[in-house]
Structure formats: C-alpha cells, structure tokens
Symmetry: D2
C-alpha cells in the first residue's frame, strides 16, 4: 500500500519524516543498544541540544507534544495551583484536559488575547486578581512560540514576560511545538529565545519539525528537572528503545538542519500569504510571521476550494488554516494560491 496523494497543507503533522531525521534513525538501527535512554545516541542527542542551546540544560525526549507540555507544566506546579495561558493556547483548546490530567487538577487560567499572545499586563492582572484560598494560586505562565495563530513574540516581549514572571514568582514555560520555525523567523539563536530571555522550561517540537515521533523537554535550570525522569516513566513517556526517539535529534541538529527545514516552511507560508494579499475577496486574519496562514474567506469560496480537493481546518471564527512543513512543495503552494484566486474570483462574479 502507498500513502501517495496530492500534498495538503491542513497541518504540519501531515508531513512525513525529513531526511536528516530518517537517516539518523536508520543509522541508529545498526545493532543493539542499551534501553531506556542510557544509549550513545541519546547521550549524543542531549549533548547536541545543549550545544544548540549553549546551555548545560537537562534534556528529556518524550513521545508527543501533549505529554511534553503537560508533564512540564505538572512539574512546575502542584495540583492546587494554576497555569496562566492565552485563551487560544493549544493546551486549553485542543488537549482534551491533558494538563489537568497530568497535574491531577491544576487549573488553566485563560486570558482573552489578540491572536494568542499574552502580555505582561494581562499576566499581572490575572495573577494578582485574587489571593484567597478558594482560588488556585498561579504558579506558572505558558506562552506558545510561535502562537497557534502563527504570530511571534519578539525577544523583547519574551524578556518582559519573563521579568513579569520573576516579579510574581511565576515560572515561565514555552510551548515550542514549532520552535525551529520561530528561531528561523526571528533570525535569533535558540538561546536568545529561551533562557537568555528568561524561559525556565521549553517544550521543543520534533514532530512538526520533521520527525516521525518525538518532542524534547528542555530544563534550563537543572534543579527544576529533579525527578522528571521518574515522572516521565510513570506517565508512560519513557521509550524503551529510546535511541529511535533521540537519534533524529542528532540528525536535525547537525549543521543546523532543523532551522533550514523551518526556514523552508516559513517561506512557503509567506509565499501563500503574499499571494493572498493580492486576491480580492479573501484576506489574512493574522500577519504571516511563521509557517501558518489563516485566511478569511466567504463560505462559498471555502466550499469551492474544498470541491477542488483542498483539505483545511477552520479556526477562530471560521478562518481557514494552512500550515506548512519542511517538505512544502512550492508548486503546490502556488496551486493552492491559484485555486484560491480562482474560487474567490468566481465567487466575486457570482455575488
């Protein structure tokens, strides 16, 4: 059987394994290796992460983003505390209660935002709104970089949020499901966007960056990682043949390939974005800053686009979301833009 079908941009999870990750997996498959992460590949991957982040960080490789974020957040609070998040945060809208499950009941305190970006003022307001025992005391702030809407926090914005967190005795967690795309877009270093800006713990996306399976949890303060290995084990997130989770990181971190893949994904998004700005009747819901494009279009246009075989999700008041991965075929991006223009034109004529 075969998977071959015209490429879709409904999600960056639709993409396969990037060559750098695949080659490393295949290389790791030679011979036998010690289990549960005490193998050479896992050591090498951890070292490569530390090098990439210029930090003596503690690294854990887990299976997916649900677990990475939920476990990291659970480690940063107790069940009777709370987590400050944007209203559009993935952990609030699309994790089926995973953070609450892993933390045994920590409450998400969500803040209304423009496009999913938290601000120091909003954090301060909710964190200081109450101090009675009936209200779960905030312990951690989580930001998604880039946001679920494809927006970026600037380094300065992250630093200000981190300063706010320190002032309020809150930890700062970054959901970096598309971390490489953010690094590529901002043109900064991984260190700049994380510990140098004040981030305590990063969940660094592997799957959306081109791996088959796997995310990394990066503790910049090793004291915060105490017991996290046991936590992963208990929560079903310790791979026995760990090398197949870790080797791909060696592959993509080598020579900065992960950033290269991310740059390509971002470029595809910008390409579509630029085309859309020139099409009458459709518009961008958010500026295109990373690898996502949200398109506002009339229902008739959306329907016509689907009739042409395009698959996409609708979010946030009905905008169509297109996400680009490491393997985005630019001709196919153009095809999408052409179809969109054509559908919008036809719709315009019919209106």
């Amino acid at each position: 059987m075969t998977t071959k079908a015209p490429q879709q941009f409904a999600s960056d999870n639709y993409a396969g394994i990037c060559p750098a990750a695949l080659d490393a997996m295949l290389a790791a498959n030679a011979g036998s290796a010690v289990a549960y992460g005490r193998d050479d590949w896992t050591q090498a991957a951890s070292d490569a992460m530390r090098a990439a982040f210029e930090a003596d960080a503690e690294i854990f490789f887990v299976f997916n983003g649900t677990a990475a974020n939920s476990l990291a957040l659970a480690s940063l609070c107790r069940s009777y505390q709370s987590i400050i998040a944007a209203d559009l945060a993935h952990i609030e809208t699309d994790e089926c209660g995973a953070p609450e499950f892993f933390s045994n009941g920590a409450k998400l305190l969500t803040v209304p935002t423009q496009g999913g970006k938290l601000t120091p003022d909003a954090i301060t307001a909710i964190a200081t709104s109450r101090d009675d025992i009936h209200f779960p005391k905030p312990a951690v702030v989580t930001i998604t970089q880039p946001t679920e809407t494809g927006l970026l926090y600037t380094l300065e914005e992250i630093r200000e949020i981190a300063a706010t967190c320190r002032r309020l005795s809150l930890r700062l967690h970054m959901d970096g499901a598309r971390f490489a795309q953010a690094v590529a877009a901002l043109g900064c270093t991984p260190a700049d966007m994380t510990w140098r800006a004040g981030v305590d713990v990063l969940c660094c996306g592997g799957t959306k960056g081109g791996m088959a399976i796997g995310e990394a949890v990066v503790f910049f303060d090793r004291a915060l990682a105490d017991g996290f290995d046991y936590r992963c084990k208990q929560a079903g997130q310790l791979a026995s043949k760990m090398r197949f989770l870790s080797a791909p990181w060696v592959g993509v971190l080598t020579e900065g390939r992960w950033i290269g893949y991310a740059r390509h994904a971002n470029a595809a998004a910008r390409r579509l974005g630029a085309r859309i700005e020139a099409i009458d009747g459709v518009s961008l819901l958010f500026p295109v800053q990373a690898n996502a494009v949200f398109v506002v279009m009339p229902p008739a246009v959306a329907s016509a686009l689907r009739d042409r075989g395009w698959v996409f999700y609708e979010f946030i008041g009905g905008a169509a979301r297109f996400m680009f991965a490491w393997d985005a075929d630019l001709a196919r991006v153009d095809q999408l833009a052409d179809d969109l223009a054509s559908c919008a034109g036809a719709s315009g004529r019919n209106a």
Copy 2:
C-alpha cells in the same frame, strides 16, 4: 556515530527494528497523510489486526507498554476499585506507579505466585477475601503471557482463569508485551489465546517484537472501548503522525512475520537453555518456555561473566536474566553458553 557493539541479551528491548517493521515505516513515509490515525495505514493496520485475531475488535496504537497496560486497566476499573495481579507482574514491580497514576489510585492487589502465574484459586481467594467499603473492590484481573519469568499459561489455564473472572464479575486483561512469542511457543492462534479463551482486553507488544516504538491495545468487546480514544488523547498517547506507529503493524502482520520473528527468539532461548542444563554449577530457575532464560549461578560466575563483557540483569533472588529478540545471533548465543561454561568451570575448579 554508530551503534555497533557485540550483541547483548540483557533485554529484548536492546534489539533494533526488524526488517518487516522498518520497510513498512519507510513505505509509509512516502508523501503526506492525514494526522491522528485517520490515515490509510492506520486503517490497514487495524484491519490486519482484526484479521490476525479473527475478531471485529477495536484497536488502538499507543507509544509504549507502560501506557498500553495502564490505560487499558484504567478503562476497566474506577479509581476506588482494584486490580488483581501476580506479585511478579511487571505493572507491580517495574512501572513506577503508572497503573495507579493513570487510574488515579486504583490499587494493585498482588498474589504470591510461583513464577508469576496466577491461578483460579488465588484469584478467588483474594477477590472474595473482603467485601467491606474500606477495601477497594476488585474489578479486573491481569495476567502476563508469557510471564515476566518466561513461563506460559496453557490455553486451558487461561480459560479457567477467564471462567473464574466471569463468575466473580471481573474483567480479564492480558499483558502481552511478548504476545507473539507466546503464540509461537504454544503453536496456537492469536484468537485461541485471547477472546476464545475469555480475555477481554489485550495489550499486544510491538517493541519487544521488533518495532521501534509502539504497542497495540485490542478490545475484543467493543463496548469496553467506549471513550478509549479520548482517554488516549488526554493521556498523551495519541500520535499525530500515527502512520509511523501503525504501518509497522502492517509490516509484521503480513504473512505472519511477527510469529516468525518470535519463533526465532524462542529458539535462541531454548538453545541457551539446553546448553545450560549441561553445565555443572549453574541451573535454570524456570523451564524455558518462551524467549527468556533465567540462570542461577554463583556470584563468582556472574562476576566472571561480566568481566568477559556480558551485560545482564539480576532478578528474583539473583538469577541472571537473558532475553532474546527477533535478531538473536545464534553464534553469539553459543558464545554466551561457552563463556558461561568456561566461567562455571573455572569457578568449580577454584572452589
């Protein structure tokens, strides 16, 4: 970097990816595919499982055995109930509290056993020992097939346990981390060993059978699977690029390859077992029935063996455990037997 090193038999988790699984992963990597299990490969893998088990079962692919067993057990009881297990059950001895975590507190009631095999009498005794509210009412029995000690339940034994469970209104769960090895050893069909014998839910091992990552949870009674998809999602066990978890199942189930691999692993174990019976000063702790060999040897012999580079764990009163995988090199098995004979002989002469 390379993984190459002399093969060890400390664990069947030390082996790499078997060709059938790897080829399917590579095939699945062609092009893009829908995420979260709605892809063709996952459909094909589920169908292949149903065919292999001759049953219209509900199938879920999760990341590892910790999660497979813990989620399955959590779905079969409530937090205030209990799970009857053998004292040597992996879920009791080696999961760092995972069943308790996933079930939010269900208690394991363990039964002293010979080699990890539960009996109808032992189940009945503990299940009927108390009926007061201070004691968590048993809801499910779990058996490991083959056991952690490499022993097999006969089909008749499973049927009798299942009958006991029905009589006591208990569900029957099978931890089949090495399920194929048991099928190969008993020479029966997967159906005979599970639903035809009265098993309600099976956790079917992929990793120890030759995959990189992944286990299958098989619900023979579809009503019991209600909500299990959401349960997996919340617990961080829903893979976004599911095809890479499911395609390997298509690979190994094709033409019964999984049983072939298992047969090889079992043969390697029997080969070592036969050699050991002929060596003075060492002995088998359990009869060799699947792919495990437990060797009782004097500390000096164990130490000498380690000095020769052999890696192994000690279990159950200090016996050395050797586990064989799909890729066991028979020459290397012979090497182990030779080294063992040599070390035992030297120790005998010194004594």
Copy 3:
C-alpha cells in the same frame, strides 16, 4: 472564650448551628453506635430525605459542598470528558480546582451568563460546538439553584434544561448549596425542583441551611449511585461517626423545619432589598429572589460602611454581597439598611 460579636451578613457560613440540627446531634450523642453509616440515625436521615423528596433515592452524607459537588460530578463523567457550567458557578470560581482534582482532569466548559443562569441554547451551543477528539466531550451539565447571585431557575426553566440535556445525552446535576432557600422561595416541593423536573443528582446543602457540617448527595436514579459509597470512602468523605453528620438531617427535615429556616433567611434578604430600593445612590445588582442581596455602591460608601464595622465581600464588578442565614436578626438587618442609607446619604452630600 466566646464567639459573641455583632452579627455579620458576609456569608451564610457565618451562622451557627440551628436548634433543630443541634438538638438532633445531642440526641444522637446518647450511647454508642455502629460506625461508617450503618447506624440507626443515618438510616432515619436517609429515609427522611426519601420522604422529603418523595423518591426512592440513594442518599450519601458527606462533609462539605466542595466534596459533594466534586464527587457527584466525578461520578457522572470520566477524566477525559467535560462539565458544562455557568461562568459564575461556584465550582468554577471558588473551588481551587476541586472538580478537576476529584475527576482527575475533567474540564469545566464555562458559558458566559447573565447572573449565572444557564440556558438551553447556551448548553446546546457549547455541547455541539465540536466533536473532535482534542475536545473533552461534555457529559454533564451543572446548575446552581439558587445561583451564586441569588437568582432562581423557575421550574419550567429547569425542565427545559433537563430536556436539553436528555436530547444531548448529558446528565443534569444541581448544586443546591442553598436548596432549601430555593424551595422556600419558589413555594414548590423538593421533588418538583429536582427529579420531576429532570435533575439526575442533587447536592443538597446542609451547612448553609444551619448545620455545623455536612451536605447530602441525592441520586434520584439509583443506578448512577453505583460505587459512590466506595468513591466517598477513597476520597476521605466517609465519616466514621456518621450519626453526627446524619442526625442533623433528621432534625431539620422533621416537620419541614429546613424550609422554615430558609424562609426566614429569604425574608431577611427581601427586607434589606426593599430598603435598598429606596436609598439613593445605591442599587441592587440582581433582583432579590432567595437569601442573597448584591448591592452596587460607590467605593466611598463601601468604605464608610466598613468603617462602621460591617464585613462583606465584593463580587462581580465590585458589588457588595450580603447573605442571610436561618438566624438573621431582623433588627440587625435594619441596622445594616440604616447604616447603608446613612453612608450613601453622606456620600451623596459630599459628592
């Protein structure tokens, strides 16, 4: 030492034990009795509840409202499901994550409301908003009667909500922390407001009704109560000397005393409400329907009132909340009204 101090109306939890409850506690204290609820008083209290509700309900006596509501909701959903509640629901705003803790992660889906009252349309909208696996499927709706703002659902409104729930396969839970006050205000029977209207499970307030400690959980469908006794035990809500939790119910249910107490509390609230309507510069935030009065007043008035020794909480945009209990001293209510008028008048003159 003594508790004597001028009566405050900051909370109906400030009141002591009503005579009917106290007399029963004292009567229950004669001699020894079987523990854990198998005593005669607990049997009598359960029977009295069944008589009061004209239903063969299953009754549980637990320690407080946090536990009553959280355990009841946990029994009506699984961890990966969700609970539909008003944005102002006590379980959302004032339980420090208790429902999430007891349910091990069930998510509260809150709906913006006017004064905390859910509507069939709002329930339908949120319950049908998504059906994907990333969203915790709603399993239960909870309404507070009277609401946290002192508003009442009419019987017709409850019936319509219940019909909506049945249509959507949702269970209906009622947080009746002030249940007697609602019954007294509507002039209906307990049965009318609950099972006859379609409520599945009621948490019936004891503490706010005049007990020292204790709430009752009432399952009108006994099948839903299966295992709830074990659930209470595991969650630390099974009293060993249960008679002291249950006897007060016998006391207050006798001759409808609980409704009499509630009627007095409601009357005190109406008395203050009527006075407030006549005072310039202050106003009612909500109509006075049960035993709560929310007063909108300028900060200077609030401050002046506090200077005169009055204690009150501010809710919902700064309105002062006054709650009346079974023991509300009407002269003291008048004193509050007088002081409020005086402070408002002074403030008006100063403005």
Copy 4:
C-alpha cells in the same frame, strides 16, 4: 429516636462525643463567626496544639483520618515516589486506595512486620533495594503509633527510625489516630513522641479520642506545610464553619483532658487483657499496650460470644478485636470478660 443500646467495644469509633469536646462545640455555637478557619476558635485551637506540643508547628483541622493521612503523605511525596509502610498499616489495608488517590499514584511499599511495627533495618532494606527508574523512589516513611494492633513504638525506637529516615533522605510521618492513647501509655509528652524524636508530620486523631468529627495535621517543620491550606481546600477538607472542627480541640486540650480520656481507654483495655490471661482456651495475640485487645479464641467461642450479643471484628488470622474509648464502662468490660470466660469454659467442657 434514640441511640441507646448496650455498649459495644468493636471500635473506638462507636463512642459518642466526650464532654470536653461537646462543651466546646456548644460554646462555639454562640453567635456568628468568620468562616474557613479565620475565626477565634480555630486560632485558639491552633495555639493550644502548639502549646501542647511545645512547638511552633503549623496546624490544620480536617474532617477525618483518611484525609489527614492521605493529604499529609501526598504533601511529602510526588506521584512517582513511594511511601514505606508496615504491611498492617491502616493506610494500606483499610483506606480503599485513598493515599494513592490523593497523591495521584504514589505507591505504598509495604514491609512484612510483627504486629505492624517497622524497624530501621526493614526501612533501610526496602529503601535501598533498588535505584532504577522503574521503581518509585521512596520519599517518606509512615508509622502508626500505637499500631493497628495496639502496640507501641518506644521513644527510642521512634528516634532510631527517624535517624534512619534522615540517613536515607526520607520524611517521617506518624499516623496518630490514637495519639493520645500512646502518650498516655508511654507517660511521655507529645513533643517527646514527635518532633523531639524526629517526626516531621503528625496526623493526630480527634474522632477516636472523643470528638464527633475531626483530625489535626501537625507540621513541625513549617516549610513542609507550604501550600497545605490550598491542598486541603482542593481536596474537600476545608470546613466552612471551621469553628465546629476546631473548638473541640480547645476543649480536650484544656488541662490535658485528652490524655485523661486516653488513660481511661487504656485502663479498660488492660483490665480486659488481665482477665483474658486468666481464662483457659483464649489468649492475647499481642501484649496490651494501648487501648486495643486482640483475643485468639476458638471459632465456637467467638460464635457463642456473638450469640450473647457481642459485636466485634476479626483481624489478622481471626483474632477478635476489642477497642476501648473514652467512655468505656468498666462494668461492661467486666461483663465482656465474664461472658468470654463463660463461653470459653463451655467450649472447653464440650471439647
């Protein structure tokens, strides 16, 4: 209705409220008071506890022993850690999985004991048995004083266990459901038996000491109590009318009344114990050291005793347990001894 019936000694939970506790509850019922523990009675009770323990401890009043022990233990470990306990510990045998529930999965590691008493050697053995990630790392040791079998740890034994705990970086928790009885029996001070001996956290029984409802959790190291107030709130253990939980402590602590009551209970047990030693055909399973008496008797004797109306539980290989409370009627104790002698004699003659 009335509770009056011949006194039974099946449990010290069968007793009613002792005068000191009742008088304080009644005194606390005068007037209204601030809720949730910010009232004068709760302050006074905390101060009285600190005075009784000669320590600046942090005190919490919760509803029952299940919750007190489970919350205290949950605060001393994380879900992926473990709790070392005696095989006969109440938290293992009679709490329906409560410690696992409150801690979200911490595992109890039980040690075979003689009569439920842990030893330094047993603690060391299990705590150092494994250090791999598949085994939940021990974080806390719990001892019951007096044990569930009525035995006492000497002060020296507690000190040695505490020293062992410190050596192994484990916390020491004491389940003191019958703490006063232990103090009375050893003739020491509360301080001697707890913090001076190295206990970190004590759960101090109120119910079995003569209260209607309530236990105290005493943190001798205030740092360990951080967040415990929120933990209680979330777990349904924060009483709104807290004064009715706390005032009884003021009552019983005044002039050492709690120790007086305990002394009486112990004396009743000793009285029965002395009689039993003189009866042929029955014997004591354990020496009588506190308020429990375990009697080994032939089934025919047990049956005959039940025929005479005596109620008792059978534990530990069938011994009958008799527990004495603050109100034990010595004439009734003699009656029990007489009946026992008579039944045993009749049985002896028949044998």
